[in-house]
């Protein structure tokens, strides 16, 4: 061996796998959290619907509570949580 690896320090970024940059309900970017939260990430996660639309979990829960029908606010299909 001419050269051996002693250690490696990796730097990576993570972002949500979402089909849009912004939450369709609060319009905040997914990189930051919903208006009710202060720190994005684990405390303010995203959820995906069966229709593949994606929102802050706090936003979609609030939305569903306020609506008579459980529909996706983007495509009006019936809302189902998709835990992919």
């Amino acid at each position: 061996m001419k050269v051996t690896v002693k250690s490696w320090t990796g730097v990576a970024t993570w972002r949500w796998i979402a089909n849009d940059d912004n939450c369709g309900i609060c319009r905040m970017p997914f990189d930051s959290c919903c208006p009710d939260c202060k720190l994005p990430g684990d405390d303010c996660p995203l959820v995906w619907g069966a229709c593949s639309h994606c929102f802050h979990i706090h936003c979609i829960v609030k939305w569903l509570h306020s609506q008579p029908q459980q529909q996706c606010p983007m495509c009006r299909q019936d809302w189902k949580f998709n835990n992919k």
Binding site: V3, S7, W8, T9, T13, P40, K84
Partner: protein, 774 residues
């Protein structure tokens, strides 16, 4: 002692008044009255007031008044004698005769008032109109007590009689003597007895009307205060003109202030306490206000010399402030403005002073701090730290901090202050005062207009420190973020906090990953540490640079990716190869060297396992390093002497590079630890967030500012529903102030954009009102 009969009875008025009058004459002349006699007369007054069948109080009152008039008439003769009325010779005896008559009479009348207690209490009181009626004038006849003396108690009647019978005829004589005496007292203090006489005479004019509800000082004002002020004003004007003619402004101010003190002590000594302010105003009008142009003309020079350290000029400024302050904001404005300009001039000179180019950031912050310190001290010293000067200094610091050097499109302050902080936060224990210096830097930071630009520079430097572990201490980092938060609020430091949090979260994640490896009997054959950062919070560009690392480096990364995917659904991980660092040990050299470098650098060195020479083009293609990044990664290896170029090596145009890279097998170096650098990607590469220049930063900030303004506009309109244009602009400007100063043009553009996006509309039928569309 005779027992007083309380029973009303018939009395002979003439007889009783004759004996009463004799006693009354004795009382007002302050002659001794025997106790028995006093008591008898006291009950006589009672007897007359309750006399049967008709009370004789009115008659008694009338007779008493007649007596008093006659008596005071006699006193007038005694006081005036042959003194000429027109004279103002205050030493001709008139004043002292007046004062002795006043002492005697005023005391006598006070005794008389108690002799007439019953009449005062039972008779006068009933007729006395309430104070409220006098003040509000519901009864016209009593609005002037002199016109119906029936309303007065006997003591008050005595005073009114004194005023009418004695003071009126002597008014001019008294007034001119008093004013002349006061004028003389200003220049040389009178002997105690003369002073006493003067003070007593003046205060008699107060005393004589003291019982009046309405205008109790009118006699004093007429005889003393007004004529005194008129004479004083003329005197002050002459003196001020004289002072200005004989010396400079310093001389003038000194003597004028001394004069003011003397004038006020004269007033305190002789005049009624309510007159002090009028005396001061009269003095200031004649000596200061009348000469404002002369005073103002010297301000700039005084400030210049005072700020250069002249103690005399600082004294002058202190006097200037003392003279101008009472005259109000308009008189002060030139001083405040000049103070502002002086600080600006000085600040620019300090910033422009010669300094080493690579110390620009500390020069800038130190210069601003010394400017701030110098003028805070000076202004608090000479202007007592008064608010207008604190404001002038703030304005000056703000102007200097945000000044644009000629030819520059934006101020350099945001970048320089951020660099200053970076240098302090990096320094490893070398600067024991780093904490104090960072706290002081906040003073300068607060004046920076483009706080959002500062934030971008600061965030990038913080990212570098956190990723490469360059921070002197995490406590210090956190303390600084908290200082910024205290100055600008949570929103400003939100991303900084998130970066900070990511570092802690990453430590946790690494521990979990190591556990995961142990649990699954997996190993990485080298030390492995990873930082996982939230993409939105870190100012990191060029994230997607492709790289095919050799197996030694790839394996742990892949293991981690799998672990991460399983732990966090819905997240995509992207490696930042230019920030990943590896540490290698060399085995082919005589000594073992520890090399640290970027992933591509490590990968390149690992390619020499089976060959001593590799083709540059092949190497790049195998590693899949982008053309643009190739030279930045490879050049440091050549510079360090680890690799040598063979043939026609063209790092800058790797597509047609026919050269080769050779491992330097006889590499030697004094140090055993070698850190390979890698320049940051040049600006306008990738997403642009990694651009390094100020103008790039500002351009990027413009987009952020528009986003910020639009969000603020929506927030405001959502709450207010309908708002006029000017109010909306004001509201937005005040919300943005913490991070930047938005231009009205930019706000207007944002409003238009929101109208296009149908968040807002112009309220129907109005020109300047917007309404929110839900």
């Amino acid at each position: 002692m005779q027992v007083m009969s309380l029973k009303p009875r018939n009395v002979d008025f003439q007889e009783m008044w004759a004996s009463l009058k004799e006693t009354v004459a004795g009382v007002v002349a302050l002659q001794a009255v025997e106790r028995g006699v006093w008591n008898t007369r006291f009950s006589d007054v009672y007897a007359l007031c309750v006399a049967h069948p008709e009370p004789l109080a009115d008659r008694l009152y009338d007779e008493t008044r007649n007596f008093l008039e006659e008596h005071v008439g006699g006193l007038l003769q005694r006081v005036q004698r042959s003194a000429p009325l027109e004279s103002s010779d205050y030493n001709d005896g008139l004043l002292s005769r007046y004062v002795s008559a006043w002492h005697e009479y005023s005391q006598g009348v006070a005794y008389l008032n108690s002799l007439y207690s019953y009449l005062n209490l039972q008779h006068v009181k009933r007729q006395k109109v309430s104070d409220a009626e006098i003040i509000y004038g519901s009864s016209a006849t009593v609005s002037c007590p002199e016109h119906d003396s029936r309303q007065l108690e006997v003591g008050e009647l005595g005073l009114v009689t004194w005023e009418r019978v004695l003071v009126r005829p002597l008014a001019t004589a008294l007034s001119s003597r008093l004013v002349a005496a006061l004028n003389a007292a200003r220049d040389s203090s009178p002997d105690p007895s003369t002073a006493d006489t003067l003070r007593s005479a003046i205060h008699s004019t107060v005393h004589v009307q003291a019982f009046r509800v309405r205008a109790p000082l009118s006699l004093y004002v007429e005889l003393v205060l007004e004529p005194f002020l008129a004479a004083a004003s003329a005197h002050h004007s002459r003196r001020a003109a004289h002072l200005l003619a004989e010396g400079d402004v310093s001389h003038f101010m000194k003597y004028v202030l001394d004069g003011l003190e003397r004038e006020l002590s004269l007033a305190r000594r002789f005049l009624h306490s309510s007159s002090i302010e009028a005396v001061r105003a009269c003095y200031e009008q004649a000596c200061v206000e009348a000469h404002l142009p002369a005073l103002h003309a010297d301000i700039e020079r005084l400030l210049k010399e005072a700020s250069a350290g002249s103690i005399e000029r600082q004294d002058d400024l202190r006097r200037m402030y003392a003279l101008l302050k009472p005259l109000g904001a308009n008189a002060m404005r030139p001083l405040v403005d000049a103070a502002h300009q002086q600080a600006v001039r000085d600040g620019i000179a300090l910033l422009d002073a010669e300094h080493p180019k690579d110390e620009a950031h500390s020069h800038f912050v130190q210069a601003m701090l010394s400017l701030h310190h110098k003028y805070s001290e000076l202004f608090s010293d000479v202007f007592g730290g008064a608010q207008p000067f604190v404001g002038a200094l703030d304005k000056a610091c703000s102007a200097v901090v945000n000044r644009r050097w000629s030819g520059e499109s934006c101020a350099r302050a945001p970048e320089l202050v951020a660099r200053y902080c970076d240098a302090l936060l990096r320094r490893r224990a070398a600067d024991a005062e780093a904490d104090d210096k960072l706290a002081a830097a906040i003073v300068v930071f607060k004046y920076v207009d483009d706080k959002d630009v500062f934030q971008k520079h600061y965030a990038r430097a913080l990212a570098r420190r956190l990723i490469h572990q360059l921070s002197a201490s995490m406590e210090q980092e956190e303390a600084m973020i908290n200082r910024l938060k205290a100055a600008c609020g949570y929103e400003f430091t939100n991303k900084l906090h998130r970066m900070f949090t990511d570092v802690a979260v990453s430590a946790d994640l690494n521990a979990k990953f190591q556990q995961h490896l142990r649990d699954n009997n997996l190993t990485t054959n080298s030390g492995f540490f990873i930082q996982v950062l939230q993409a939105g919070a870190w100012p990191l560009g060029g994230a997607m640079a492709p790289l095919a690392p050799p197996a030694q480096l790839e394996r742990p990364a892949r293991l981690f990716e799998a672990f991460y995917r399983a732990s966090f659904s819905g997240r995509r991980l992207a490696w930042l190869h230019h920030l990943c660092t590896g540490e290698l040990r060399t085995k082919y050299t005589q000594r073992m060297y520890h090399l640290s470098g970027t992933t591509p650098q490590c990968a390149l060195l690992l390619m020499f396992e089976n060959a001593d020479v590799v083709s540059a083009r092949e190497a790049r293609e195998t590693l899949q390093v982008s053309e643009e990044a190739w030279s930045r990664h490879v050049k440091p290896l050549l510079d360090a002497g680890l690799l040598t170029a063979k043939g026609d090596l063209r790092l800058e145009s790797p597509e047609n590079d026919e050269g080769e890279l050779a491992l330097n097998l006889s590499f030697t170096c004094k140090r055993t630890r070698i850190k390979l650098t890698c320049a940051a990607a040049p600006p306008n590469q990738g997403t642009g967030t990694n651009s390094g220049t100020s103008s790039g930063e500002t351009a990027h900030c413009d987009d952020d500012r528009k986003m910020y303004l639009q969000a603020a506009l929506v927030r405001i309109m959502k709450q207010r529903k309908v708002l006029r244009h000017t109010e909306l602009i004001q509201e937005v400007v005040s919300q943005a102030r913490g991070s930047f100063a938005p231009s009205v043009a930019m706000i207007k553009k944002c409003i238009e954009a929101l109208i296009d996006k149908q968040y807002l509309e112009r309220a129907p039928g109005t020109l300047d009102t917007y309404s929110y569309l839900a």
